[in-house]
Amino acid sequence: MFAEIFSILYQFADVFAFLILAAAGLAIIFGMMGIINMAHGEFITCGIYVTVICVQQGMPLPLAQAIGALSAGLVGIALERTIIRHLYHRPLDSILATWGISLMVTQGMLLLLGSSWRGIGTPLGSFQVGDYTFSTYRLVLFGAAIGVLAGLYLVFMRTGYGIMARATMQNAEMAQALGVRTQHMYAASFGMGAALAGLCGALYAPTMTLIPTMGITFIIESFVTVVVGGANVLLGTAPAGILLAVVRTALNAWYGQIAGQIGLLIAVIVVIRLLPEGVSGWLSRRER
């Protein structure tokens, strides 16, 4: 009995971690700038490949993962400075531009890196509860997801950058008129969103085989979570992660993986009907 309960909790934690880690970067960029970053998957891919290359060069995994996340962040800042910043008041153009970037990067990587690479293997082995075997690394991923949420909370609620970033999110003109350099806020937030996408890739790198289009593996979950959560990372992404993880874990357990995937999409449709601004829009309306 205990083993069954643990198994369900473990699967919930696994799905929750995947949703949160996949969505956090996308949610920050959308919440801060209203930009739907179609190249989100390529930032994730960047984190994966940099991590794998570093490990293959003999670096310890955690260091390689940090470098993977940082490089995605730097690429993000470079992209923001050169292209994205011209598109802040043109949401449709920004979708097209980031989508174009996504296509070019994916095709470029297919040409440059070939179609598949050897993975690096999941570390930390497994443990046993009752008759079930579980991967220890999956628990690390759950811890990382909680860590990302806690870190975002601290950054946005407790730091000077966070206060200025929230002011910019709520009323960019007014923030400017008070002296906030909103372009810096945008660049920093875009970099942070890209770095979190890179971190997602870096954390999942040891669990998958590498192909240049693997960013797609994460895309459905990340967009679904952001759509359900709404524009606010703190109020939206975490509750959306819990809600969707419950739906998916239950359907996975009863009807299998395909049902879980379909259930996720149905959950989105239901939430959009009931709460057009997502969970965070609904929560902040109730607050007022």
């Binding site: 000077g160 206060i163 200025m164 929230r166 002011a167 709520q170 009323n171 003109e173 007014m174 923030a175 400017q176 008129a177 008070l178 002296g179 906030v180 350099r181 909103t182 902040s284 607050e287 007022r288």
Partner: protein, 237 residues
């Protein structure tokens, strides 16, 4: 005018798209003056204020702050040079606490003074009481005090207020007027405010610019202001 010049506006033009809205605004304010800008709805008062802080681009003319040309600087730089902007409708950050609203300008301000936060609480004690409350839940009068306090935390030499009495009960308006006068008396801050309310205009302004169709059509001096007639006439043109 003998006082040291703080704000000089010469021939300011601005447009929304191809529709001209400002067609040559001229104003000169010296240190420590309290001047009002009046005129009917839609003559361009708010546009003038937004142009002064830089949220609307000037298509011609000059703006100088203490002699320095700021006409083409972005809003954040103007704020850091000492302009405190209090917009029409207050525009506090609704989902942040009172204290966080104040911290925004403290963090952003180029030359912010740690004493300023306490000073603001002394001018507007209600803000200290409500410091942990989210700004969206404050009353209109409290939000107006917060908007002024927020601008003051940046330690400005010039305050721009756009209809500070709009929608606020008279006793709070009087209290805000008193606070503005002490801000001027104690800190030498220059104040330009847009106003429709005759009582408020008479209460604190020492001089008055009258705007119509995007230009300044009259200036009412200290002497004339003693009788409310001139002001009343222009408000009702």
């Amino acid at each position: 005018m003998s006082a040291e010049p703080v704000l000089d506006v010469v021939g300011l033009h601005a447009a929304y798209g191809s529709t001209p809205v400002l067609r040559g605004i001229d104003m000169h304010l010296g240190k420590g003056e309290i001047v009002s800008l009046i005129g009917r709805n839609g003559v361009g008062k708010t546009t003038t204020m937004r142009c002064l802080i830089g949220l609307v681009r000037a298509t011609a003319g000059h703006i100088r702050l203490r002699g320095q040309a700021i006409t083409h600087l972005p809003p954040a730089d103007r704020a850091r040079l000492g302009i405190g902007y209090i917009p029409q409708g207050r525009q506090v950050f609704p989902r942040m606490t009172v204290e966080e609203n104040l911290r925004v300008s403290q963090l952003a301000g180029g030359k912010s003074d740690p004493q300023m936060m306490e000073r603001v609480f002394a001018y507007f004690p209600i803000l200290k009481e409500r410091r942990r409350q989210s700004a969206g839940t404050l009353s209109g009068g409290e939000q107006q005090q917060l908007a002024i306090g927020r601008a003051m935390v940046g330690n400005p030499l010039l305050l721009l207020l756009d209809e500070p009495s709009e929608g606020i009960q008279p006793s709070i308006v009087r209290m805000i007027c008193e606070a503005l006068k002490s801000i001027r008396d104690q800190l030498g801050v220059t104040i330009l405010f847009v106003e429709q309310n005759l009582d408020t205009i008479m209460e604190i302004s020492e001089r008055c610019y009258v705007a119509d169709k995007g230009t300044i059509v009259a200036e009412i001096g200290r002497q004339e202001l003693h009788t409310s007639e001139a002001v009343r006439r222009h408000l009702l043109i």
